[in-house]
């Protein structure tokens, strides 16, 4: 190749010069840079959303070709599916509304405190506070199941019995009233993820002179400082944290089953929308119906994100 080009150029300078520049133009094209991602993005994000939307109007058992059924799935979902209406939706909303905003506020509060201690200690605290969010499901099954176990191996029962707070062992993970609060507790414990890191970094990057100026302008206390200076100065990170918190909470699935040791968990306690979709899609192979569930979930997520953009967007 390298040796043939100059010879070619000598023979037909005009033509080869043209092809070379065309090659160069193609090789240098902006489209070449975005193409790999654009293809993957279309294939793995856009197309699946379109397919899910289309499939939600069909009956599809993965064996036969999908059969168009109109709004049948949605009608069933919103009128006939008692597990969805009485368990999955209220559980997801309850879980989302507690874990989302509280986790988010907790993240901001902790980041705010961390921004006010020295670098070395801050690093140590940050690593510890961030680490639960990377532990994963294996960890959850191992630690929390043992801690809340109802038999003699359960740590919490042992301590409570010893301190005389309870008189007999509590069946933490089998009780309909207790499973959901435990799920929320575990989720909050592990909610300091990427959004938390972004908020901390955002706090550390606020120009310090802003505060000095604000004090001259008559800001009196920490609350005023937080609401008038700190939050407005880190809006992008606050928005990022909010989006991440929403996605994190609505992605949650399988917790109740892992903790209680069975699918579905007793009386569908802690059963979330994603669990419902997985159940119909991958256990019962009713793909059309499962798609309707996921489309409903996607709508909820987009709705919540719209709200957070309203609150923190420019």
């Amino acid at each position: 190749m390298e040796s043939s080009t100059p010879i070619n150029r000598k023979l037909k300078p005009g033509l080869s010069g043209k092809t070379e520049s065309r090659f160069k133009r193609v090789a240098d094209s902006p489209y070449l840079f975005i193409m790999p991602y654009a293809i993957l993005f279309l294939l793995l994000i856009v197309l699946p959303v379109v397919i899910a939307a289309a499939m939600s109007f069909t009956y599809f058992n993965t064996v036969e070709f999908p059969r168009f059924v109109g709004f049948r799935n949605y009608i069933d979902l919103f009128t006939g599916d008692t597990v969805f209406l009485q368990n999955a939706v209220p559980n997801t909303l309850l879980y989302g509304i507690i874990v989302g905003p509280f986790g988010y506020m907790l993240a901001f509060m902790l980041a705010w405190m961390l921004s006010q201690v020295t670098h070395r200690m801050r690093t140590l605290y940050t690593v510890i506070i961030y680490s639960p969010s990377i532990t994963g499901p294996v960890m959850m099954a191992v630690v929390w199941k043992v801690l809340f176990s109802g038999d003699q191996a359960g740590y919490l029962n042992y301590w409570l019995l010893k301190l005389n707070i309870v008189q007999e062992p509590v069946q933490w993970l089998q009780s309909p009233e207790l499973l959901m609060p435990i799920m929320i507790f575990i989720a909050l414990w592990g909610s300091m993820g990427v959004g938390f890191l972004a908020m901390l970094a955002g706090l550390l990057n606020i120009d310090r002179t802003m505060y000095e100026a604000a004090y001259i302008d008559g800001i009196r206390n920490r609350w005023q400082e937080i609401f008038y200076i700190t939050i407005p100065s880190m809006k992008p990170q606050m928005l990022f944290g909010a989006v991440m918190a929403i996605i994190g909470t609505f992605n949650a699935a399988g917790m109740a089953a892992t903790l209680s040791g069975g699918t579905p968990p007793p009386q569908y306690v802690g059963w979330l929308i994603v669990d419902h979709a997985n159940d119909f899609g991958f256990v019962r192979y009713e793909m059309g119906y499962a798609s309707a569930v996921t489309v409903a979930l996607l709508c909820i997520v987009i709705l919540f994100n719209k709200v957070s953009y309203k609150l923190f967007g420019e």
Binding site: F33, L40, V117, S131, L147, W189, A198, A253
Partner: protein, 286 residues
């Protein structure tokens, strides 16, 4: 007046330290617990009253994990190999694909750029589980079902990676690019020798996020694989924990499994956290 990012310890900070210290201890307890449990011999795992700390540490549980996998027909090393291989490929390809796209979306001019940027920001809200079923069908139709590609391809489209990298690249001054172009470099040269070195913190962050997602990914093994020999470590450990949950050795085994999954993540984060914080500072949605 509150002082942000102080240089030295001052008595104002005492309250924060007390609160953060107590909270940190509380947050770290489960992790300390899992480390202790993985070194506990049977007698201590099932001792009554249950004890938090190990008193006679042993490697018995680690040996048992190896033993169990050998008995099931596939050595543990096979799952480890699969995980390491797919995770490495996923990280390298994601970095390449994301940084190229981010460069295009940030600094190059082409038709449809604004629209693409908007859609990508919208895709940040994307809930992967919501489209698990169509993805399953797409993977099947692509003909990569039951191959390593099925572990890799679903992990590659990472809107948050593009987002972070683009935020960084937007702040690289155009003069630098002009200078490089004056020297006769094309877009690839600018990308390779100007952009990539400038956005290192963001690249590191994307690598870490990708590692966490890929190393812990058990879904592709469950949904896209038929051959046990192609499945990855998290899937194997999940099933092991589920199967051995009721047997006596279960508790120790699951603790070891949890540790194996968690430690690489933690170590990587500790080493690279400075860079991560750096890139998170630029996380602005515009």
């Amino acid at each position: 007046m509150v002082k942000f990012n102080p240089d030295k310890l001052h008595k104002d900070q005492l309250g924060f330290h007390i609160f953060l210290l107590v909270l940190s201890i509380f947050m770290v307890l489960p992790i300390v617990f899992i480390i202790n449990n993985s070194f506990k011999p049977f007698t201590e795992l099932f001792a009554y009253p249950p004890r938090f700390f190990v008193s006679q540490p042993t490697f018995e549980n680690f040996r048992l994990l190896l033993h169990f996998s050998a008995e099931s027909g596939l050595p543990l090393s096979r799952y480890v190999f699969n995980s390491v291989l797919t995770t490495t490929i996923v990280i390298l390809s994601t970095l390449a694909i994301s940084s190229m796209a981010a460069f295009g979306l940030s600094k190059l001019h082409f038709k449809g750029k604004e629209t693409f940027n908007k859609i990508n920001t919208l895709a940040l809200m994307f809930v992967p589980v919501a489209v698990a079923i169509p993805r399953f069908l797409i993977i099947e139709k692509m003909g990569v079902f039951n191959t390593y590609f099925a572990h890799i391809i679903p992990m590659l489209a990472m809107p948050i990676g593009i987002f972070l990298l683009k935020q960084f690249m937007d702040q690289v001054p155009d003069d630098l690019i002009e200078a490089s172009k004056m020297d006769g470099g094309g877009n690839w040269r600018v990308y390779w020798s100007v952009m990539l070195p400038m956005v290192k913190p963001a690249l590191v962050t994307v690598a870490i996020l990708t590692f966490q997602a890929s190393w812990g990914n058990a879904e592709s093994s469950a949904n896209f694989m038929n051959d046990e020999s192609l499945r990855t470590l998290p899937f194997y450990l999940n099933t092991l924990v589920a199967q051995s949950g009721n047997i006596v050795a279960g508790a120790g085994l699951s603790a070891v499994a949890g540790l194996v999954m968690f430690l690489p993540n933690l170590i990587l984060f500790i080493i690279l956290q400075n860079k991560v914080m750096d890139s998170m500072a630029h996380t602005g949605i515009k």
